[in-house]
């Protein structure tokens, strides 16, 4: 079983070590850094399962880094906002796509939030995959229907015959029905 990969960016050295230890013990592979540009390079390089970003990040603005990572869909982000940012976070809550919690944080809460996020992200990814699959399947079905219609019109044959023709062609040439349909659409379509 692959262990989950995490990137922790920012925080004081002590806090970062605490976070790293806590999650390592839970079986996560934790990478750390303390400035924004390194975080971006690291995250793009290893594509972790979760990124924890401190609002107080060296170099770039932590919020900006979080936005970039989440905006480009590289990994889910848990943003640790400072107490005085709470009002700001409320305002942008509808806009920002990432999860945030406000300091001070307890390790216990951090761990449960992260576990919830990773499970959720997995679920969402699976759902997205299923949606994509269904979309593709629907597209293929539409093409096949249209192709059948064209064959029926062009050769004056029944629907069953048209389908059988396509099926035979697909099996003989080892091509998917969708590809056969595309060929028919290109040849006989306008």
């Amino acid at each position: 079983m692959n262990s989950l990969r995490m990137v922790v960016a920012g925080f004081s050295d002590v806090t970062r070590k605490k976070i790293k230890n806590a999650f390592s013990q839970k079986g996560y592979m934790v990478h750390e850094c303390n400035d924004g540009a390194t975080a971006l390079r690291l995250v793009r390089n290893i594509k972790p399962d979760i990124v924890i970003i401190d609002s107080d990040l060296k170099g770039m603005n932590g919020y900006e880094v979080a936005r970039i990572i989440e905006g480009d869909g590289i990994a889910p982000v848990l943003f640790i906002a400072s107490a005085f940012q709470e009002d700001l976070m409320d305002v942008i809550k509808d806009r920002s796509m990432f999860t945030y919690i406000v300091k001070p944080i307890s390790m216990h809460n951090l761990i449960s939030t992260v576990e919830y996020m990773t499970a959720n992200y997995r679920r969402l990814s699976k759902m997205q995959e299923e949606i994509n699959r269904l979309k593709n399947s629907l597209e293929a079905r539409k093409k096949i229907e249209r192709a059948k219609g064209l064959l029926m019109k062009y050769f004056n044959i029944s629907e069953e015959e048209a389908y059988r023709k396509m099926r035979k062609d697909s099996m003989d040439r080892c091509l998917s029905m969708e590809v056969i349909a595309e060929e028919i659409l290109n040849k006989y379509g306008n």
Partner: protein
């Protein structure tokens, strides 16, 4: 690549439909830096009616304090939405010309300057088409976020398959530019480690200058998103290739490329030769504009394919002016000395002016040099009357001060402001004690 033909109404409509919230009114200062005045979309109509003002004295080289109010006139065809901004909070830009309060074009605005020289060309019947090849380096930043000149991170990513950070960044840059509607001709990893190149498709001079400014903006922003620092500095590291900005050029008249003439030698028309003659005559002077920094001259040294001598060739990779092999409508000259630290509007203005001067005065260029110039001796070069490009910014500025044609292209305002600023820059550089000197002399003497 033709300019998009958006009208004011198109821009207003698109902004509304797409939910644009901020517009950046962009313009370029004399030194080639992008400036912008940002407005909320509620002020877009006002901006399109040329009513937005800004304080010109806040832009270096623009004006003295007394004449500070300047107007921005957006060019609707340059309307472009920034695809890297989140859907909620969409931002767009419009490139503007700068005008005086009395309604006359501000002569310190480089875009107006290019337009003026383009008009001169138009009056002679010519349109300049150009194609730029822009090189740049992507460097790592340190923990403080400061750029370094390191291109490979030897830190701890060995557990995972190496990912070329720069390649991914460049790919995203090209996709972003395409998404913004630009036609990118090519992009690739260049010779230097961490060096990249992005080429735009041919277009009219104004569009191309606009595109170069846009390219630099996009490159910088996307680089930052990848945790990298992009630099268009001509020679950031000694011993590795510098970054140039070769500019391919051809003059068209009545829909035909005047540089092509299959009946002539090399299939180059008379106009092409005069253009080359003009460029060669004024090269030492316009270098001050196409290679405007002290560092530019560190790139113009032999050994790295950068031009050093003023010569043209059909079968050489290293001269100042190279003739690529393609003919027909693709016939063109490639001017190889400009570097990306230049102001693209001024660079195109001065080279066009030089070329036009060549045509007006029927300046015949010397024979092409199809040998390796770097390998020729001083005597051989003298015999062929081959002259060097300036070896320093100071030399280039001196040449510029003596060239009335190029000075005329710039106009008095830009020429004066540019000279003053560059002489100051040169003096600063000249007076500075560099690490090289310390390394060399501190212990020896």
């Amino acid at each position: 690549m033709s300019r998009r033909s958006y009208t004011k109404e198109d821009v207003l409509r698109m902004s509304k439909e797409l939910g644009v919230e901020f517009i950046h009114l962009q313009f370029t200062d004399i030194f080639g830096e992008l400036k912008s005045v940002s407005i909320p979309v509620e002020q877009l109509e006002k901006a399109l009616n040329n009513e937005i003002m800004f304080d010109g004295s806040s832009v270096h080289g623009f004006v003295r304090i007394e004449e500070s109010d300047m107007y921005l006139r957006p060019d609707p065809s340059t309307f472009v939405i920034f695809p890297w901004r989140p859907k909620e909070g969409l931002e767009a830009r419009l490139i503007c010309d700068v005008y005086n309060p009395d309604g006359t074009p501000f002569e310190g605005c480089p875009r107006n300057t290019l337009k003026r020289v383009m008009k001169e060309a138009e009056e002679m019947g010519y349109t300049l088409y150009a194609g730029p090849e822009c090189e740049f380096y992507l460097f790592l930043t340190d923990e403080k976020g400061e750029p370094t000149t390191i291109t490979h991170d030897n830190a701890s990513y060995f557990d995972y398959a190496p990912v070329d950070l720069g390649e991914n960044a460049r790919r995203e840059m090209v996709l972003t530019l395409k998404e913004m509607g630009f036609e990118v001709e090519a992009s690739h990893h260049e010779v230097g480690p961490g060096q990249h190149e992005i080429d735009f498709k041919y277009g009219d001079a104004l569009t191309i200058a606009d595109n170069i400014m846009t390219l630099k903006m996009v490159v910088r922003i996307i680089a930052q998103k990848h945790g990298l620092h992009a630099t268009f500095m001509p020679k950031p590291v000694f011993g590795i290739p510098g970054s140039g900005m070769h500019i391919h050029q051809s003059l068209w008249k009545d829909g035909k490329n005047t540089f092509y003439d299959p009946s002539k030698e090399f299939e180059l028309g008379e106009i092409a030769l005069y253009y080359i003659g003009g460029l060669m005559t004024h090269a030492r002077a316009f270098s001050a504009i196409t290679n405007p920094t002290v560092n530019s001259y560190k790139r113009l040294v032999s050994g790295f394919e950068a031009p050093v001598y003023i010569a043209w060739a059909t079968r050489n990779r290293s001269p100042l002016i190279r003739i690529p092999a393609k003919r027909g409508n693709s016939t063109r000259i490639e001017l190889r000395n400009p570097d990306p630290s230049c102001n693209p509007y001024l660079a195109l203005a001065v080279t066009l002016k030089a070329g036009l001067d060549g045509i007006k005065n029927k300046i015949q260029p010397p024979a092409p040099v199809n040998r390796n110039i770097y390998k020729m001796t001083e005597n051989e070069l003298d015999d062929l009357d081959i002259v060097r490009l300036p070896e320093s910014l100071r030399e280039a500025l001196d040449e510029l001060s003596k060239d009335e044609v190029i000075k005329e292209a710039l106009g008095e305002h830009i020429y004066t402001m540019f000279m003053d600023a560059k002489l100051l820059e040169w003096n600063e550089y000249k007076n500075y004690v560099t690490k090289w000197e310390l390394d060399k002399y501190l212990t020896r003497f």
